[in-house]
Symmetry: C2
Subunit: 525 residues, 2 copies
């Protein structure tokens, strides 16, 4: 295949030649061959133009109601469905994810469902918390930020967390913010197809042309400028901890909100009663969860705490055999394979014993053997920092503890995580242990799970896909779950002594929109 021209970027409503400083070509993870597309690394000029266009759109949006935004989200969801086979084909080339069982069957429906939920929230204002104090005539609500929102999507969900199609995108749009999407370099083609449909949906719904913009890659210093620019409202980032912390530092110094999902080992505590009661079943669940998507899930169970006893020996034999027998999946790229190799080596250097796998290869394309390691509780306690580094891929570390007290001490040394899981017996045999473990665990994680593996993140209002640092940047925000995820991309606006006619419709007397409002301490609709 011949290399075509450099792909244009989407700036100010037009597919435009990038002021590129260099180029890159994505690699098909299955064939390890470059695709036939060439993408630009944008200069500061591209970025500045996009930021200024977004800021202008942000101003113009003040004159448009949430209805246009909801129309856009729904129109876009329809367009995505209409173009599903192109999207699935391209994402399959760029990620190697199975077409039917993953991309078309799971991720695409989830993506359009999210966009439609966001449209619904834009219409019913469920995210704005309108609050009215009648005695003082003070009223407040959340409203869009000033300036565009920058979204950096991760490599592992090209649709559902894609920078121009996923959760952060849907949330920031629903709040009324224009988006500057920065494609993940592992799937720029997929992102481009989404952007094509998004632009058409923007035009169809009458939103400002710069409502959605797309760049593909920047140098680090340009990325730092992007998230800290005075005309940018906020940033959503999902990706590696290293790059995320660089962006966080730049945004923090400029006083710009940045919401980050950085890393998580998602500890799973399997209590003795549960193992005795249904060890084989839990083994099945664990292996399936850990190897799902070749382990490339943010909630992948990467750390399993078990009591050292005969039942655990059997469990380990069982999962070891399953890890050996399971097909080795393809990873998203060379850097993921290398990350696994380095990470597994680092665990071994810190004293972990290799049980299964531990080498590159075993499957097609970029891949690494399904890998299990183990350490004792005492070892973990002595090297807790090194032994809880996330390895992104089909790997997990077992920690064999002497007793519950040692497990509790280990939990106290855990960093913030997205999830924490406890398996407990159905007959109440683990209840005491459960009540000693959970108070420690639940404050270290965003979501406490009982008797279920952590992979699988429902898009529903009570979901918390968040957690204390360094799982995310702030312990009180979630990136999944509508309406809560939307409120991240908003500012609190208060109106003091403003007459009803000058108020936003949402806060006017008589509740013209019929929405839920918190009036003098009562929720009323």
């Amino acid at each position: 295949m011949s290399i075509s021209n450099i792909q244009p970027v989407l700036i100010d409503g037009t597919w435009t030649e990038s002021d590129s400083v260099s180029t890159f070509t994505p690699v098909n993870p299955l064939t390890k061959e470059p695709t036939n597309e060439l993408y630009p690394v944008s200069s500061i000029k591209d970025v500045e133009t996009a930021i200024e266009s977004a800021a202008e759109a942000s101003d113009n949006l003040l004159d448009l109601g949430p209805t246009s935004i909801a129309d856009f989200l729904e129109c876009y969801a329809d367009r995505i469905e209409a173009r599903r086979s192109d999207l699935v084909d391209m994402a399959h080339i760029e990620t190697s994810y199975p077409k039917e069982t993953r991309l078309d069957g799971i991720e695409l429906p989830r993506t359009v469902n999210q966009l439609r939920q966001a449209a619904n929230a834009a219409r019913n204002r469920s995210w704005i918390s309108p609050t009215i104090d009648t005695q003082t005539n003070i009223r407040s609500m959340y409203a869009a930020l000033e300036g565009g929102v920058v979204v950096f999507g991760p490599n592992n969900f090209p649709f559902a967390f894609g920078s121009i199609s996923g959760g952060d995108f849907a949330a920031a749009i629903a709040a009324g913010n224009p988006i500057i999407a920065k494609a993940n370099s592992s799937h720029p083609g997929t992102t481009r197809l989404f952007a094509e449909e998004a632009l058409e949906a923007v035009k169809d719904s009458g939103l400002p042309n710069s409502m959605v913009q797309l760049i593909y890659r920047t140098r680090h210093d340009v990325g730092e400028r992007l998230v800290s620019h005075p005309l940018v409202g906020a940033t959503g980032y999902t990706g590696s901890r290293g790059a995320g912390l660089v962006l966080k530092n730049a945004a923090d110094r400029a006083g710009k909100p940045i919401y980050l999902e950085l890393s998580s080992v998602n500890p799973v505590v399997i209590l003795p009663g549960a193992l005795r009661e249904r060890g084989a079943e839990i083994a099945e669940e664990f292996v399936s969860s850990c190897l799902l998507g070749t382990g490339q899930f943010c909630t992948n169970p990467g750390l399993v705490i078990l009591r050292k006893d005969a039942a655990t020996d059997l469990f380990i034999q069982d999962i070891s055999q399953k890890f050996r027998e399971a097909p080795v999946g393809t990873l998203l790229g060379e850097s993921v394979e290398k990350g696994m190799a380095d990470g597994v080596q680092a665990l071994q250097d810190a004293g972990a014993e290799l049980l299964v796998g531990g080498k590159s290869g075993g499957g097609n394309g970029f891949c690494y053997q399904n890998t299990l390691l183990q350490v004792t509780g005492a070892q973990f306690l002595s090297q807790a920092g090194d032994l809880q580094k996330e390895i992104f891929g089909n790997e997990s570390l077992l920690v064999l503890v002497d007793d519950l007290d040692q497990a509790r001490r280990i939990l106290r040394l855990l960093e913030g995580n997205l999830t924490g899981t406890v398996y407990s017996a159905s007959d109440g045999a683990d209840d005491t242990a459960y009540s000693q473990v959970v108070p420690i665990l639940r404050r270290r994680v965003g979501r406490l799970i009982n008797n279920k593996m952590p992979t699988g993140v429902a898009v529903s209002p009570a979901m918390n896909h968040g957690g204390p640092f360094p799982a995310t940047g702030h312990p009180s925000f979630t990136s999944v779950g509508i309406p809560a995820a939307i409120t991240r991309f908003a500012q609190l606006q208060c109106f003091d002594n403003v007459s009803s006619g000058h108020l936003p419709t949402e806060l006017q007397d008589g509740n013209p929109l019929g929405i839920w409002r918190f009036i003098d301490g009562q929720w009323i609709s």
Copy 2:
């Protein structure tokens, strides 16, 4: 008066000798004489001990219900009222604030009211946003952080924003967090008296001994360690922008939430119709607001935008005369007086013309003449950065604009502020201008006010005492207003597939507490 021994710090439930690296003595602003009390500058050792004690208390609090916390807050409010004359006397010495018209008449009632509102919110859980998705059995709510919350109080509200008595204190306690209070160095004695009462209230209500702790001052590096310590949950800071940004940087790097109130000039736009209609009345309101508390309010109107015309000339004559005739109040300390002198000089260096005042003196103790300056709109546009620096005290800068368009361009150059005010005519003459000014202004401020001066911050649910950076550290949080202010000191906790018996009472089936909950998209109580 002879200097007594060094005052002890309150650590781990005991008044303890500080491991001090040096000492300081507060100065009476009226007499400019040191008081007879000597306070320690704490070492890292004091700080580490306090942090570890708070973390232990944070764990122990898990076994205590919000009822104990509410009992504490109410008991403490009662004790403050019982000790009001001591508190008022001490605060008068340390701040020079009038006893009856300020400390006893306004600030003390506000303080106990806040504490009682916080107690009420702890009881009725109005801050926790319990959310339940029945189909997926996912439930979430806000809950206390892990580790203590550090509170740095400002110099200007020794009671209502005091580090161990004020808004951040009440909010963080109501969420269930132990407090490490860092006294403001201008009123350590007042803070000490509060701490004495708080400790007794802790004992009376059965809370852990380390629920409230107090240190007086630290070196900068120790302060940075305090806000970034792994065992600290979050920090609330109100004070100068310089010191705040140093702490923000330290906390941000450690991934620790820090809520900051930093600075604000609180722009006031007086539209021509309003001035024509009731110029004398507005002049009265402005002078009274600007000189209230010798201008030492965070919402002091420090920047007034007016159209250059004959009515404005009259208005300026009027307020100039009032500024000259009004008594010059005492400032909180030498540094405030020096800050005014430096700030007024900097405005003049940036081209502002002095209309009234401009010199130290004119009253009793530390003081600076009531001061008015003016610039043209064109000047402001050319030096917008230098001309919007907050001057803390009895000063304001008038900006005389050519027309509405120039006013709009000025508003676009404003940094984030706590408040933004528009005065408009009651007969609708300013309606067009209003609708052109407000969309710009409202996104630059936390609270938009109409036809009322910005001083005066009601403690009510819809209040937003916040605003975009650098007014505060994040545009979606408020430090005043219950329940919203409480949620800052909380983490979002989600429970996935957890059986009802293992859930926090707030999320259990059947709503045993009878609280407001967001269930499947509807608020139900």
